[in-house]
């Protein structure tokens, strides 16, 4: 019955020319669809995933970063525009577009009322994430709950949604978009519209493309999010003459448990033990300062660090003193009473690991351990050093978590202007093509990441894209 209902919906979708066609049913796509529909357009959302997995990487999100000048409902303190901007400037190392970034930051102040009006609910920052209570508003129930609310709101407004339809080709007449080819099983069909919003994410689940960008090391990457972000529309836009921005190897890439599934492991695969112990590579040697900064601030660099190690594997090692001081990861650690035994369980050379830990222990300068501040426990005369929270690894049992790079999303993007219009290589904006979300996030995030900013960009640009698309369709 369900199948035949979908079929009917599809036949009617195929026969009409829509005002606005939205490719991708994640946060940005739904913000666009709702905004376009509210502006009076007929709207069709084409989602490549089945309904259970709809919403791309938004399913795995949990908050959005918001500017605010005073405490507001779930947000503590103040997070003014300038501080937000400086945070972004720091992580991106200047690889950002200040005009677009500041526009997003300013709009983030008013996002939440709009979100609430469409069913999204918020909660105070979660246990273990107090450091985000000032800057990030958490969705009650997380990203999937947010998506459920948006789908309900969109369908209530009369937005049509097609699932399991992957957009594979774009059709232009001169510089004007006219139709998109969608694939379902072995069938291809054409859907026509007066304006297009591309909100179909990056290419992080396209293993061939990752390999093209990273080389064979990409085979050892895990994809934390949806398996449906193949980047086909990103490539189709570039092929159709859109300007691109960003480096295909840049993205949000963290170190996650090596035992996680290839796709879709989401938040629970994180391992927060790094700053409490040491991290060694395949050769049982340390390679980076584990205590450089508070873990949440360094969370997003460890994926690249592990990607740079032989075999793209690393092992976080802690002793009994660390247990209970970090959010327990989903997979239980490997555990042993001696370092040699732990090495054997982790497929590491026992002698080398013993030697690495002995050298580390000998370099530890005793201080006053305090995990809540940048404390004075550091190593002396060790390369690389551990600059905070350095404590001897000497209390059994010992624990190890294997780590691999986990790609969250990629930054290679199409260039957009402040009206979300895709800019063509000639320099002019496309007449009726707009982009929102990951597919354009690289305009603002050239490298690095600040938590919750992807959802902010998606929400702000989704709303703009929907509104603008509805305007040109009339």
């Amino acid at each position: 019955m369900l199948t035949s209902r979908y079929k009917e919906a599809f036949i009617s979708a195929r026969e009409k020319t829509w005002d606005v066609l939205v490719l991708g049913g994640g946060n940005a796509g739904l913000c666009a669809a709702i905004s376009a529909r509210r502006a009076g357009a007929s709207v069709l959302v084409v989602e490549s995933a089945p309904k259970d997995f709809r919403g791309g990487n938004s399913r795995h999100t949990r908050n959005l970063r918001c500017m605010h000048d005073a405490p507001q409902d779930v947000l503590t303190g103040a997070y003014p525009e300038e501080e937000f901007w400086q945070d972004l400037l720091k992580v991106t190392g200047g690889r950002t577009d200040e005009r677009l970034a500041r526009m997003v930051i300013r709009s983030s102040a008013s996002c939440r009322d709009w979100m609430r009006a469409h069913g999204v609910r918020f909660q105070p920052s979660l246990g273990g994430t107090l450091h985000l209570s000032r800057t990030n508003a958490f969705f009650l129930g997380g990203g999937k709950a947010l998506l459920n609310a948006y789908y309900r709101a969109a369908e209530g407004l009369g937005v049509e949604v097609l699932y399991e339809r992957e957009a594979v080709g774009l059709e232009f007449e001169q510089d004007r978009f006219v139709a998109v080819t969608v694939k379902h099983l072995d069938r291809q069909d054409t859907l026509r519209a007066r304006a297009l919003v591309v909100a179909s994410g990056g290419f992080e689940s396209n293993l061939e493309w990752l390999r093209e960008a990273w080389g064979p090391t990409a085979d050892n990457f895990l994809i934390r999010g949806t398996p449906y972000n193949k980047g086909r529309m990103l490539r189709a836009l570039i092929d159709a003459g859109a300007q691109s921005i960003g480096d295909p190897t840049q993205g949000h890439c963290v170190a996650i448990d090596a035992r996680s599934p290839k796709f879709d492991g989401g938040i629970v695969t994180r391992v927060d033990a790094v700053s409490l112990g040491i991290v060694v590579n395949r050769d049982a040697k340390r390679f980076y300062d584990e205590g450089e900064e508070f873990w949440p601030k360094r969370y997003a660099i460890w994926g690249r660090l592990v990607a740079g190690q032989p075999g793209q594997i690393a092992h976080a090692i802690v002793d009994a003193k660390a247990m209970g001081r970090f959010i327990p990861p989903v997979y239980p650690p490997l555990q042993a009473m001696t370092i040699a035994e732990l090495a054997a369980k982790s497929s590491l050379d026992p002698e080398q690991l013993e030697s690495t830990i002995a050298t580390f222990n000998a370099a530890v300068r005793e201080g006053t351990f305090d995990h809540t501040v940048l404390d004075d426990c550091a190593t002396e005369g060790l390369t690389p050093p551990k600059t905070h929270w350095a404590r001897k690894i000497d209390t059994p049992p010992y624990f190890a978590y294997p780590l691999r790079p986990g790609i969250t999303f990629t930054y290679l993007s199409v260039v957009v202007d402040e009206r979300a219009r895709v800019r063509m290589r000639g320099g002019d904006p496309a007449k009726n093509v707009f982009a929102a979300g990951e597919v354009m996030a690289g305009n603002i995030l050239g490298q690095g990441y600040v938590g919750g900013f992807g959802m902010t960009i998606g929400t702000v640009f989704g709303r703009i894209a929907g509104h603008e698309a509805a305007r040109v369709a009339r």
Partner: protein, 365 residues
């Protein structure tokens, strides 16, 4: 699935939830589980009984099936609760009544019905049972002697209270008045059928207050009926006033209001159950749930019919049937669905007690 496998499966799912924490704002289960790094069997029973099976976390879950983590938290906790009821029942051997609870409740109903009829038949001449009785004080006792009725119900009441107290205290004991008060307030308001504010996702994935309303009808209906019985007892022994009481007397007003609640509530809950999302339910508990709802409904229905027809020939039979239902209801209270309320209350009290302790610091800032 064996009991061990069930507990292990619950522990696996709890570890996923503890690493994720997105659902923290929905109810007490998540803040409670976040206080733990590992989950003992005792923890699993405690957390399972904090869960009201509202479904909000399931619909919000990024790991719900068909995801390979196959996380169906509400259903797993429901299955654990079924084991809680067996595990903590007193006396222990009667815990087996939970194995096929619907059948057990039906058998007790039938036995009570036969027993009451038999008792009446042996005690009085048959014509009295089918005779018409003017509605005057003491007419009930013309078909069943007050002493016998009070004696049987008194004994049953004492046993039931003892069995329930023993079961609940095996589950959790608190002498901390504050946490008990907190648990009681959460129970009496059904705070956690609120889904974090807008109602729970029951019977389907849209927020709704229906379950909370019908549960309130049921619970407060039950309380009003119980209050009616207490006032009646007081009238009898304190003032020597004999039942039946006039329509506008306190016991009849309380009983009628409660009776209406006990018709609407259980009927509504049973109706919602029919519409509820099958993926969240533990189908094995259907007999227990339906049996209890049916018994509450019939107790109320026969009571109201007795009230309506107490001046007719039907009074004797209606009284027999009503008393049989009340007897069956009480006898099965410690071995049926009713116990969920006590375990829920105990779990909520424990939640409030734990909340006074400092939370574990797992963040680094």
């Amino acid at each position: 699935m064996s009991l061990d496998e069930l507990i292990q499966e619950a522990q696996r799912q709890l570890r996923i939830c503890n690493a994720c924490r997105y659902c923290e704002g929905f109810c007490a289960v998540f803040p409670a589980l976040e206080r733990r790094l590992e989950f003992t069997e005792d923890d699993v029973h405690y957390l399972a009984n904090l869960c009201h099976n509202c479904g909000s976390c399931y619909y919000a879950c990024q790991y719900a099936p068909p995801h390979e983590f196959n996380l169906n938290f509400p259903r797993t906790l429901a299955r654990v609760r079924a084991q809680t009821y067996r595990r903590y029942a007193w006396p222990a051997f009667l815990g087996r009544l939970y194995e096929r609870n619907g059948a057990a409740v039906a058998a007790v109903m039938a036995a009570c019905f036969l027993g009451v009829l038999l008792a009446m038949a042996l005690a009085i001449e048959p014509w009295r049972l089918f005779g018409a009785h003017p509605d005057i004080a003491g007419s009930f006792y013309a078909v069943l002697r007050h002493g016998a009725m009070a004696g049987v119900f008194g004994l049953v009441f004492v046993f039931v209270v003892a069995a329930m107290a023993a079961s609940a205290s095996r589950f959790f004991v608190s002498t901390d008045f504050d946490s008990l008060k907190g648990g009681l307030a959460d129970s009496l308001t059904l705070k956690y059928l609120g889904g974090g504010g807008e109602g729970c996702t029951y019977p389907q994935d849209e927020a709704s207050g229906a379950r909370r309303v019908f549960h309130h009808f049921t619970f407060y209906g039950f309380l009003l009926c119980f209050a009616a019985t207490c006032v009646g007892t007081l009238y009898h022994y304190g003032f020597g006033w004999k039942a039946p009481y006039p329509f506008l007397s306190l016991p009849v007003i309380l009983g009628t209001l409660g009776g209406v609640g006990l018709l609407l509530g259980p009927a509504g809950l049973a109706w919602l159950k029919r519409k509820a999302d099958a993926s969240l339910k533990d189908e094995a508990q259907r007999g227990m749930d339906d049996g209890f709802l049916l018994l509450l409904f019939l107790t109320s229905l026969t009571g109201l019919l007795l009230l309506a027809f107490r001046e007719t020939h039907a009074m004797g039979v209606l009284l027999a049937v009503h008393l049989a239902m009340v007897l069956a209801l009480f006898l099965t209270l410690p071995y049926g669905k009713f116990m969920h309320g006590l375990y829920r209350l105990a779990a909520l009290a424990r939640f409030h007690a734990e909340r006074k302790l400092p939370p574990p610091r797992v963040g680094s800032e």
